[in-house]
Symmetry: C2
Subunit: 336 residues, 2 copies
């Protein structure tokens, strides 16, 4: 499994547009306590609100990795960034990147990493040696977030559930399957970058045998109903063999992301199909509730919608970002 | 899409055990007319029954590619093979390999390929630039073979159907998704080696828009019920958007290949799940029949079984390897 050293220094470089700094801003929001500061190379770079530090100062504050928190068009490592990245390696930091371009293809970075004994970690690249799935049952408990579509809160729901489990004294781990999730957790496997023969095997590797009372809360990917990514979701479902799943949904989204000829399915359809397919590797699989992204609604509208949907589905329905009583009910149901 | 030049010279090298020459023997059986001969480097190498030729003689007979038809433990390119492979490149042949080791990692081969302007083609490596699937409907007709399990006749069924369609004057192409199929067809994409985000996209690329009366007969992979490979099968199903599918089955096989804790599903279950999932990208999908591998049965036993299963399922059931009236009935149903 990909494994990162924390805490992080967030590299914002020379990028001044917040839309290109989503990784840095997401880490600030979701992993603030493990981010010691930001590193810029121009004065007008995006400000995360964290202290602006040199690599050496960050190391003195405990930083272990520099995370590239920005992207540019093309996903390349800009030549202007390289001296700062070499400085970070010299100061003792690993470099972590989610860009398309691989760090080691920049000769100066490959040389400096070898010279200073640091790692260049490309989050998009799965670790070597992922085995074919066996389907063998594993000990411990597992919860998977699934979706009516892509990009509607599967990561945030899993993070919120894992944190709430932990806050209640439950032994729980968030298991990351995407780039941002891996950076937040410090470990994980980029499931959608695995070779398809090994996707279920990667999911098995991600949530290994554990104590009987331990929960793995696994970040879902894609949707069984997405014409581009259904196979990713099925490999992850089979390999995760979850006991419980939570369906994530964006109320009001009517067409599938990137495939607008396809309607977003009803939550009930997703529940039925996930049970049909998931019971192949865990006959006891069941839906424990749903997580709706209601950011576009007022508090009153959201409360009314969540209550109506909970009544319609006969299951707890909450917005993990809003928290509140509905979310506590969902957590109670998971741990019941 | 990977594309090979035919006809072939089959390399059997120094391998004397037929179990390690399955590719050469399979090509002899399924692509005999496009194999001009075999090339050995020791006298006791496996004999395919084709003429034993030098590279230069094979080229004189029209050969365009040397196909490595043998494997050894570890899937490496044996040092003893290299001089013969260099001779083949010098004689004007491409080299085609399904081994794990990549041809171009052998410096002598990389040098010779560059010097003589020939290609080193690793069948296991998908072509670059596979797009994410769009789910958009394509013109032409498509048939996909699916399975109750792995390795029970999906390739042979698709080949037999495509050939029989062609023999009846129908415009049809066999679309290969695995190594042996690609070697037989001379083109295809190794679906199970694609990155899972692009598996459905690879299937879309494999069977592009075609004339309204054209049939793509697509080689299936894995099984939706296999705990290791279900995601591969779903990506291929979504991307293929078949109008018809044929379920391939091995009567008497009770446990899934490599995952013996899992029972082989009933053909009826496979039909239902394939329709449930396949209608996402082709609402008109339907099962047209089943193909049973009855090699282990007598002719009378096979006939009785096929008739009984046909009555039970209400669909044509045939063994494509036996052919006969049952198979003609299956073909009639496809083309009805």
């Amino acid at each position: 499994m990909t494994s990162l050293l924390q805490p992080y220094l967030l590299f914002v470089g020379d990028v001044s547009e917040p839309g290109f700094a989503k990784t840095a801003l997401g880490l600030r929001d979701w992993a603030g306590p493990i981010c010691v500061g930001e590193m810029a190379i121009t004065a007008d770079a995006v400000a995360t609100g964290l202290p602006r530090l040199s690599a050496r100062d960050a190391v003195a504050m405990g930083a272990k990795s520099l995370v590239i928190g920005v992207a540019n068009r093309g996903g390349i490592i800009a030549p202007a960034w390289v001296p700062a990245l070499v400085d970070a390696l010299a100061a003792g930091l690993d470099i972590v990147s989610g860009l398309h371009a691989r760090l080691a293809t920049v000769p100066e970075l490959a040389d400096a990493a070898a010279r200073y004994g640091r790692r260049l970690i490309d989050i998009r690249t799965p670790p070597p040696g992922i085995p074919v799935a066996t389907g063998a049952r594993r000990s411990g408990k597992r919860l998977l977030t699934v979706g009516t579509d892509c990009a509607l809160g599967k990561k945030y729901t899993a993070l919120a559930l894992a944190r709430t489990f932990a806050a209640r004294g439950i032994n729980a781990d968030f298991r990351a399957t995407g780039q941002t999730g891996i950076m937040i957790a410090g470990a994980g496997i980029p499931i959608d970058a695995t070779v398809c023969d090994f996707t279920a095997g990667a999911a098995e590797l991600l949530s290994p045998d554990a104590a009987p009372d331990h929960w793995d809360v696994i970040e879902g990917q894609g949707s069984l109903f997405h014409p581009s990514y259904g196979g990713v979701s099925l490999g992850l479902l089979h390999g995760s063999q979850p006991d419980l799943f939570v369906v994530c949904h964006q109320p009001g989204r009517e067409r599938m992301l990137g495939s607008t000829a396809f309607a977003v399915p009803d939550v009930r359809e997703v529940i039925d199909l996930t049970v049909t397919l998931g019971r192949r590797t865990n006959p006891a699989i069941r839906c424990v509730g749903a997580a709706y992204n209601t950011a576009h609604l007022s508090a009153a509208e959201a409360d009314a919608l969540l209550a109506a949907e909970s009544a319609r589905l006969g299951l707890p329905v909450a917005d993990p970002m809003r928290g509140g009583a509905a979310f506590e009910t969902l957590v109670d149901a998971c741990l019941a």
